[in-house]
C-alpha cells in the first residue's frame, strides 16, 4: 500500500520543484556489513564482508580481509569458508538436507557475529511471463513501453513458505526485493506479478528472474529492506530505519540459506 501513498503525493508534486542542497551529517562509526548467501541448489556458500562509509564520501567500500568465517550444520560439523579474494569467503562442500539449521559465524577484528538460517524445501519455478504493461506507471504522459512480469509456481500445502525473486537485466541485479509468503495462498497455484514502477527494457535485453525459497528471518529481512529504506518521500513515508537483520552482533546484513532456480527471457 506504500505505492498508494507515493501516487497520492505524486499528484501534489505536480506543483513541486526540486533543488540540490548541502546537508551536514555526522557520520557514524564504521560498521561491518555481512552479506551471507548459501545457495543449497548449487551447494555454494558465499560471504561478503565490507564496511560502511560516510554519506558524502565517494563510493568505495572497503572489503574486509582476514576474517574467520564458518558455517556449521548440527549433523555434519563445521566448514570453513576460504577467502577467495579480498572480503569474499566461499565454500562448495557443505551438504545439507531440508530443515537443517545452519549456523554462520564470522569473527572479524576480535568481534564475533552469528546467525542461523534453515534450509527451505525446494519449490519448482513453473513459468515466467514477461509482457507489455497496460498500467505503465505514474505521472503525466509516460514515455516508452513498459513491461509486467508474472511468476507462476505451485505452493506446497500445509506449511509456511517464503519466496524471494530477483530481477536482473543483462546480468545486473535490479535493486528490488520481491518477497512473498503463502499465508493466503497456501497450497495454491500462485501467479504473482512482480510490481515495479516504470519497468522499461531495451530490445535485446536479457531478463533473468531467480526464484529462491527462503526461511522466515530472511523473508523478514528482505521485506523490511524494501519498506524501510526511506523511499522518495522522506517526510511523508515511514520513518527510515535499517532492515530487520537476522545477524546477532550487527545492525545490518543478513544470512540467507535458499534454493535457486533461474528463468531467462530475451526482449524482442
Amino acid at each position: 500500500m506504500k505505492i498508494i501513498t507515493i501516487i497520492l503525493t505524486a499528484c501534489i508534486l505536480c506543483v513541486s520543484c526540486e533543488e540540490i542542497i548541502d546537508v551536514q551529517i555526522a557520520s557514524s562509526l564504521n560498521q561491518l556489513i555481512i552479506e551471507a548467501n548459501f545457495d543449497v541448489s548449487n551447494n555454494e556458500a558465499k560471504v561478503l564482508l565490507s564496511r560502511t562509509i560516510g554519506i558524502n564520501e565517494t563510493n568505495s567500500y572497503p572489503l574486509i580481509s582476514g576474517a574467520n568465517t564458518t558455517i556449521s550444520n548440527e549433523n555434519q560439523g563445521e566448514f570453513i569458508l576460504k577467502e577467495l579474494s579480498s572480503g569474499v569467503y566461499t565454500n562448495q562442500e557443505i551438504s545439507t538436507n531440508v530443515g537443517d539449521k545452519l549456523k554462520l559465524t564470522v569473527v572479524s577484528e576480535g568481534k564475533e557475529y552469528t546467525s542461523y538460517s534453515t534450509v527451505p524445501r525446494f519449490v519448482k519455478f513453473d513459468s515466467l511471463i514477461v509482457r507489455d504493461a497496460k498500467f505503465s506507471g505514474m505521472g503525466p504522459k509516460d514515455q516508452g513501453k513498459t513491461y509486467d512480469i508474472t511468476v507462476i509456481f505451485n505452493d506446497p500445502p500445509s506449511e509456511l513458505n517464503y519466496y524471494r525473486f530477483i530481477e536482473s537485466i543483462n546480468g545486473v541485479a535490479i535493486n528490488n526485493n520481491f518477497v512473498y509468503d503463502n499465508t493466503i495462498s497456501d497450497g495454491l497455484r500462485s501467479e504473482i506479478k512482480l510490481f515495479r514502477r516504470k519497468r522499461q527494457y531495451e530490445s535485446g535485453d536479457t531478463i533473468m528472474i531467480e526464484m529462491q525459497c527462503i526461511d522466515k528471518p530472511a523473508y523478514e529481512y528482505f521485506k523490511s529492506f524494501g519498506e524501510t529504506m526511506g523511499g522518495p518521500l522522506n517526510s511523508s513515508s515511514a520513518t527510515p530505519a535499517n532492515p530487520k537483520t537476522n545477524i546477532v552482533g550487527s545492525t545490518i546484513g543478513y544470512f540467507n540459506v535458499h534454493t535457486s532456480e533461474k528463468k531467462t527471457v530475451i526482449i524482442k
Binding site: 500500500m1 498508494i4 501513498t5 503525493t9 499528484c11 501534489i12 505536480c14 506543483v15 513541486s16 520543484c17 526540486e18 533543488e19 540540490i20 542542497i21 548541502d22 557520520s27 557514524s28 564504521n30 560498521q31 556489513i33 552479506e35 565490507s50 560502511t52 562509509i53 560516510g54 554519506i55 564520501e57 563510493n59 568505495s60 567500500y61 504493461a133 497496460k134 498500467f135 505514474m138 503525466p140 541485479a173 493466503i184 495462498s185 500462485s190 501467479e191 506479478k193 521485506k223 519498506e227 524501510t228 529504506m229 526511506g230 522518495p232 518521500l233 522522506n234 517526510s235 511523508s236 513515508s237 515511514a238 520513518t239 527510515p240 530505519a241 535499517n242 532492515p243 545492525t251 545490518i252
Partner: protein, 773 residues
C-alpha cells in the same frame, strides 16, 4: 443501564434541592442572540452592576441563567463585535428575558458604539483555550485564498502544523490522532481535504470555534491532546439570505432563512474545488483531484422551553489518474438535538449523533480491477445537564454512550487478479461515560472548575481475537460471539481548573487533567493519509493515557486592549503506539503483533500577546517546546524527539483596517525544522548503495518561515447587497521551504550521493469574490 440510573438519581437529587433556594432567589434566564440574524451568541457575558463579581456566560446554545435575590439591578450583556446591551430590571419573580444584541457597525454616518472591552480572559477559569473569531478567519491570508479554521488555529501557540501537505494538527506534543474534532458534536475522523491543504470546515457557516489544548471540560472525552469544538451557524431566522464566494480554485454558496420567522431557521451551504480542471487543461492530462462538501442545518423553537436542531455534513475528496487508479474518501455526520429548559435554571441537551468516515481505493490493473474500502463509524447518545444553582455554583453532568464500528478493509476484486490482500474482520466497541463537573466561586477572587469523567470501554465480538507473545507472534486465538465482551477498560479522568484573580488586570490559573483514548490511529507515514487505519483498545492494545498539568499567568494592558498570557505545560503519555520496522498495516489481521509500545512526554512555554481592539488587531504567539518518545524497540530504547518536536515556533498576525472599505492583513510564521531521520552512513548490499541509520529523528529539516499577505476591499455594504474582493499572496517572499529531503545516488556521478530538497509553493497569489444578499 446502570450509568443512566446513576445520572438520573443525581438529577433527581439536585432537582429536589431547588426549593431551598426558591424562597430567597429568583431566576432570570433566556437566550442571547443577534438582533439581525437571530443567531445565538455563544459565550456572551451577562453582568450586574450591583454584583460585579457575579455574572453568567451564555452556553453553547446561547442560554444563560442567573439566580438572584429579589430587587433592582442594572443588567448588561456584552459580546465582542456587538454593542453593549443595558437594562434596568426590577425582579420579584421568575423572569424569561431573551436578549438581542446589535452588531457593531463601522459604516459612515452611524454612531459607532464600541463593544465593551471585557476582561473575561482574566476572570474565567479558561486556561489552555484558543477561541478563534470568525472575523479573524475571514481576514487572515491563507493558501489559495480559501479561509480556513484549522490553518488559522495553527497560528496560535501550542498548535503546530508540519508544513504544507501535512494536514496534521499537533497540539502540545500530541499526535494528529489525539485531537477530538467535532462538528456540532459529531466526531470528524479526517478533518482534511486534499491531503491537508484544506480543512473539511467551510468557514462561511461556522459560528464558534473553541480549541481546548489544556484541560477540556469533563463533558468531552475520548482523545488525549485536544478538543476542537466547532459549531455551525443556525441560519437566519428573520430573513432569507444568499451568500457565496468565487475563488481561483473553488467556489461556494450558502442559503439561509426562516422556516417560521423568529422561531425556526435553516441553512444549507456547499463548496466545490475545480483546480484539476485548470491543471488538466494546462498539462493535457486526464487526472482528477477535487473535493466538495455540504453543510445543512435546521432548528425550530417549539416554545420558550424546547428547541430542536438537526444538522448534517457530508464531504468527499477524490483523486485519480487516467482510469488506472482512484481513491475517494469523506466524512458524513448527522446530529439531532433537543434543548430543554427545566424550571428556568436547568438546561438540558439531548443529542443523537451519527458519524462516519470511509475511503475506497480502486486500482485498474490490466483488465482486472480491485478495490479496498474501509469505514469507521459511530452512533452516540449524549445527555447533558447544566444546573445553575446560584451565581456561585453551576453544575454540569451527563452521560454519553457510543457504539463504534470499524470495517478495517473490505477487499473486492474481479476474478484471477493476483493481489495478495484479503478482507479483515470488523471491530466493534461500546464506550460509555458519565461525567460531572462544577464551577464554584468560594470567593470573589477564586474560581474552581472541578469534575471527573468515568469512561467505560468494551471491545465486543463477533470475531476471532488473538493473543501475542513478546516477539509479536500469535500464541492463541479465541472466538467471541456478537454480544460477548472481549475486553473492558474503566478509566477515571479527573479534571481541575483553578483561577485566582490578583486584580482586575491580572490572574493566575492552574489546571490538571487526565485523558484517555480507546481508538488508536496506526499509520506508517508521518502525514495524515486518507487510508489511515484505526484500531480499538483490546487485550493487546491498552488505552492511551495522558496526564497534563499547566500553569498560566494572564495580564491585560491598557483597558483590556492587550491580552497577554504566559502558559507552561508538562504532559506525560502512556501506552503510545508505534510500528515495528517493516510492519505491514494493510490487510494484516495480525496488526497488533506489529505494534511497539512506549511513553511520550511533552513540555513547553507558550506566550500570546493579542490586541483585540482598534484599527490594528492581531497577535504574536511564541512557543518553546519539546516532545519526546520512549518506545520499546526504537532508538535502542532511549528517548528520542517525536517528529512534531519543534523547538521554536513564532506566529505574527496583523489585521489593519484602513479607511472603511479596505482591510489589510499579514501573517509571518517561523519554526524550527521538525525532527527527521537522516542516514548516517552508506554501504553496499547486493551491489546497490544503501543508507545506514543510527539514531531516530536525530536530524532536523531546515527552518521553516513564510510571509502571507492579504487585502479585502468592500465593494458594497448594506442590508440588501454586500460584496467584497479578497486578494492574498501566500509565501510572499518566495521562501523555498522543504517539503521533503531525500538522499539519492547522484545521476551525474554514480560514485557520489546527494541530498535533494523538494519544495511546493513559492509565491501563490489568489483572488476571491465574496457576496451576500
Amino acid at each position: 443501564m446502570r450509568y443512566y440510573f446513576i445520572v438520573l438519581s443525581i438529577f433527581i437529587l439536585l432537582s429536589s434541592t431547588e426549593y431551598t433556594y426558591s424562597e430567597e432567589y429568583v431566576t432570570i434566564s433566556g437566550t442571547i442572540s443577534d438582533a439581525t440574524t437571530g443567531e445565538t451568541l455563544i459565550g456572551a457575558v451577562v453582568r450586574l452592576k450591583e454584583l460585579p463579581s457575579k455574572g453568567a456566560i451564555a452556553n453553547k446554545y446561547g442560554f444563560y441563567s442567573l439566580q438572584l435575590n429579589q430587587g433592582e439591578y442594572h443588567l448588561s450583556v456584552s459580546y465582542v463585535g456587538y454593542q453593549k446591551y443595558e437594562q434596568k430590571l426590577k425582579i420579584s419573580s421568575k423572569l424569561s428575558l431573551n436578549i438581542k444584541l446589535k452588531a457593531e457597525s463601522t459604516l459612515t454616518g452611524e454612531v459607532v458604539v464600541v463593544s465593551e472591552r471585557d476582561n473575561y480572559n482574566i476572570t474565567s477559569t479558561n486556561i489552555g483555550i484558543e477561541k478563534i473569531s470568525v472575523a479573524d478567519i475571514e481576514t487572515v491570508p491563507i493558501l489559495f485564498g480559501e479561509r480556513d479554521i484549522m490553518r488559522t488555529l495553527q497560528l496560535t501557540p501550542g498548535v503546530k502544523s508540519l508544513g504544507e501537505g501535512n494536514g496534521g494538527m499537533y497540539v502540545r506534543g500530541g499526535d494528529n490522532s489525539h485531537n477530538l474534532i467535532m462538528l456540532d458534536e459529531a466526531v470528524v475522523y479526517n478533518a482534511n481535504h486534499l491531503l491537508g491543504f484544506f480543512s473539511t470546515f467551510n468557514s462561511n457557516v461556522i459560528k464558534d470555534v473553541t480549541l481546548y489544548k489544556g484541560t477540556s471540560p469533563a463533558e468531552y472525552g475520548g482523545r488525549l491532546a485536544s478538543v476542537l469544538d466547532i459549531r455551525m451557524n443556525d441560519g437566519n431566522n428573520r430573513e432569507y439570505k444568499v451568500g457565496g464566494g468565487i475563488g481561483i480554485i473553488s467556489s461556494k454558496l450558502e442559503v439561509e432563512g426562516p422556516i417560521v420567522k423568529d422561531k425556526g431557521s435553516f441553512l444549507i451551504a456547499g463548496r466545490r474545488t475545480y483546480a484539476d480542471l485548470v491543471y488538466n487543461a494546462i498539462a493535457g492530462t486526464d487526472n482528477y483531484l477535487y473535493f466538495y462538501d455540504i453543510n445543512a442545518k435546521a432548528n425550530y423553537s417549539v416554545d420558550d422551553y424546547n428547541k430542536i436542531f438537526i444538522s448534517g455534513y457530508t464531504g468527499r475528496d477524490a483523486i485519480g489518474m487516467n482510469e488506472r487508479f482512484g481513491i475517494d474518501w469523506g466524512n458524513i455526520t448527522g446530529t439531532l438535538r433537543w434543548n430543554h429548559i427545566w424550571s428556568h435554571n436547568i438546561f438540558s441537551n439531548t443529542s443523537l449523533i451519527y458519524s462516519d468516515y470511509d475511503y475506497k481505493v480502486k486500482i485498474l490493473n490490466d483488465a482486472n480491477e480491485f478495490s479496498i474500502s474501509s469505514v469507521i463509524k459511530n452512533v452516540t447518545l449524549k445527555q447533558d445537564f447544566e444546573y445553575f444553582i446560584n451565581t456561585d455554583f453551576t453544575l454540569k453532568f451527563g452521560l454519553n454512550s457510543t457504539y463504534h464500528s470499524i470495517i478495517p478493509g473490505q477487499v473486492e476484486f474481479t476474478e484471477d487478479v493476483d493481489i495478495n490482500l484479503k478482507s479483515l474482520e470488523n471491530k466493534n466497541g461500546l464506550e460509555n461515560a458519565i461525567f460531572i463537573s462544577s464551577i464554584i466561586k468560594p470567593s470573589a477572587l477564586l474560581t474552581l472548575e472541578a469534575g471527573f469523567r468515568l469512561n467505560f470501554f468494551n471491545l465486543l465480538g463477533p470475531g476471532i481475537f488473538y493473543n501475542y507473545d513478546q516477539s509479536g507472534s500469535v500464541i492463541d486465538s479465541s472466538y467471541f460471539a456478537g454480544d460477548q465482551n472481549v475486553q473492558s477498560y474503566i478509566n477515571l479522568e479527573p479534571r481541575l481548573n483553578v483561577s485566582y484573580i490578583l486584580n482586575e488586570y491580572n490572574s493566575l490559573k492552574i489546571a490538571y487533567s487526565r485523558n484517555t483514548q480507546n481508538l488508536h490511529l496506526i499509520s506508517n507515514s508521518t502525514s495524515s493519509t486518507p487510508t489511515d487505519l484505526w484500531i480499538p483498545s483490546s487485550q493487546n492494545v491498552k488505552p492511551e493515557i495522558s496526564d497534563q498539568i499547566s500553569l498560566g499567568y494572564f495580564h491585560n494592558l491598557m483597558d483590556n486592549t492587550y491580552e497577554i498570557s504566559l502558559e507552561t505545560y508538562y504532559k506525560y503519555m502512556l501506552n503510545q503506539l508505534d510500528l515495528k520496522n517493516g510492519a505491514e498495516i494493510r490487510s494484516n489481521e495480525y496488526i497488533e503483533g506489529e505494534l511497539l509500545n512506549g511513553d511520550g512526554r511533552a513540555y513547553g512555554l507558550e506566550l500570546m500577546i493579542r490586541k483585540k481592539f482598534g484599527n490594528l488587531t492581531g497577535w504574536l504567539g511564541y512557543t518553546l517546546s519539546r516532545t519526546e518518545k520512549l518506545i520499546n524497540g526504537i532508538n535502542s530504547n532511549n528517548w528520542y524527539p517525536a517528529k512534531q518536536d519543534v523547538t521554536h515556533d513564532i506566529s505574527l498576525v496583523g489585521i489593519y483596517t484602513l479607511k472603511e472599505n479596505w482591510t489589510l492583513s499579514a501573517t509571518w510564521v517561523y519554526n524550527t525544522g521538525n525532527a527527521v531521520t537522516y542516514p548516517s552512513a552508506k554501504y553496499l548490499v547486493n551491489g546497490n548503495v544503501q543508507f545506514y541509520y543510527t539514531e531516530r529523528n536525530a536530524s532536523r529539516m531546515p527552518d521553516y518561515h513564510r510571509l502571507d499577505l492579504g487585502a479585502t476591499y468592500i465593494l458594497s455594504k448594506g442590508d440588501s447587497f454586500e460584496s467584497s474582493l479578497s486578494f492574498s499572496i501566500y509565501n510572499a517572499y518566495g521562501r523555498k521551504n522543504a517539503y521533503t529531503i531525500e538522499f539519492e545516488v547522484d545521476p551525474n556521478d554514480s560514485n557520489k550521493t546527494r541530498a535533494v530538497k523538494t519544495y511546493l509553493f513559492t509565491f501563490v497569489p489568489s483572488i476571491t469574490y465574496n457576496f451576500k444578499f
